[in-house]
Symmetry: C2
Subunit: 270 residues, 2 copies
């Protein structure tokens, strides 16, 4: 994910878009490999895109900077990054006109600011935005599919659900993810470390991660996540449950307490 916008760099806006998308992809058994946030600047956007393309990822999702104002320069930045010119796109113009028509604004003038939202890198296709004005954009580049989505959360989510997720699902195949979270009291992370290490040796495909949550009433508190991804629903479920059983028995033997255990049903493609 390449997030574009100075508001993210100066802490004006919390990057909840990245969390939403990351969570959604994790539930499908895949994940964001990297999240990079850059400024509203042509050179920064171009370099950020090149960095993402260099990973040879299946998908790059660019978020933000598609609107009509001067700071919205994602498409120009991408055009610079891939050395392809910008061209007014008829399909994108129709989508924008349709949007205004739905809002009973059919008489609105197609000013340069509005036309900018339909000026795409050569070879790009617009993607319908059911919520806002600026269409999303889709590009195929060196085996990577690049989607550009608006930064407004409701628009980003709508286009992601409608047009991005189905593509990802198609490419992924069927995967299930089972995650179990434990809340533990009375053990330091440094004392838990050897247990996690031996579990990871036994189950190298597992994801096991501890999150220290401070000391309360003299007791160290930790949240521990165990997750397994598999093409087989039962395998994901059983492996996660087994790892948790093993960890619980070790930490209870060490005098710590598991105060809560919360599992998600194995999620994945339906």
């Amino acid at each position: 994910m390449l997030a574009v916008g100075r508001e993210l760099l100066i802490g004006r806006t919390l990057n909840t878009n990245a969390q939403w998308m990351g969570r959604r992809l994790a539930r499908k058994g895949t994940r964001l490999a990297e999240i990079t946030t850059v400024d509203d600047d042509l050179g920064e956007i171009a370099a950020g895109l090149k960095g993402c393309l260099g990973r040879r990822a299946d998908f790059v999702i660019v978020v933000g900077g598609l609107g009509p104002t001067p700071d919205d320069m994602t498409l120009k930045g991408i055009s610079k990054g891939i050395r392809m010119g910008l061209r007014s796109n008829e399909e994108a113009l129709s989508l924008i006109r349709e949007h205004y028509a739905r809002r009973n604004l059919s008489t609105i003038e197609m000013t340069p600011a509005r036309k900018k939202m339909a000026t795409l890198p050569v070879g790009a296709k617009p993607v319908r935005n059911e919520v806002g004005t600026a269409p999303g954009v889709r590009l195929e580049l060196e085996g990577t599919t690049v989607f550009c989505l608006p930064g407004v959360p409701s628009e980003m989510k709508s286009i992601f659900r409608e047009s991005v997720e189905p593509e990802i699902t198609k490419r992924l195949g069927k995967l299930y993810r089972k995650c179990i979270s434990l809340k533990i009291e009375g053990i330091y992370e440094s004392a838990l470390a050897p247990t996690i290490e031996s579990e990871l040796r036994r189950h190298p495909d597992a994801y096991i991660k501890s999150h220290p949550r401070g000391i309360k009433e003299g007791k160290s508190r930790i949240e521990l996540d165990v997750a397994m991804v598999s093409e087989d629903r039962e395998t994901a479920e059983e492996s996660a449950v087994q790892i948790v059983r093993e960890i619980k028995s070790e930490i209870e033997a060490a005098g710590a307490t598991v105060v809560s255990e919360r599992g998600t049903a194995p999620s994945g493609r339906k």
Copy 2:
């Protein structure tokens, strides 16, 4: 900022550390140039660091992955990225022992998991952590100062305030930033765009950014930020106020309403 941790990529954790640090730096008249989040993986951390060093930034702040568990591999990843070995650091060991002593745990055993937190890339120095166990780490590399901080927010903030911020302030010089935020109703962003454009032509050093906030009761709502940074307090203040005055008169002439105006006192080094 290089943030390390899969919990950020899968949406388990919202990157509030980046927002906190971004906001704090913005108030000083500077900013994060890029925020990159990578997985708990040696190759990813090494590549992420190399990308950051390639920017020739004054500072790179690495956050997360300093703890005792197997997923905590930031120092090893950095060692790989800069091709410097890891070595047990006596000063870091003392800091960890001191931390345990403060908690009346002086008899705690120095297990491999605990020693790992004191195993630093050659040439690195530990930085005192007043809140948690793992010391921060400081490295000078090709003109860039690299700080590694724990991901636990209270520890990150404490080390940033105590040891990172004074260094940044020293390098920055004296800067003031004045920011004014307007809430506007009754104008579309695409209609506001030409006003912003002409203001940016008149004041090329200004930061002017609109954030669309949807339609309420048929009226388009926008938040507009205007910020100026200057070595001179009055210049920052007066320029921001003047730009806002010009924008207000234009948008009110277009029939829109400024429903609120909120300014921050010019902030900067004391």
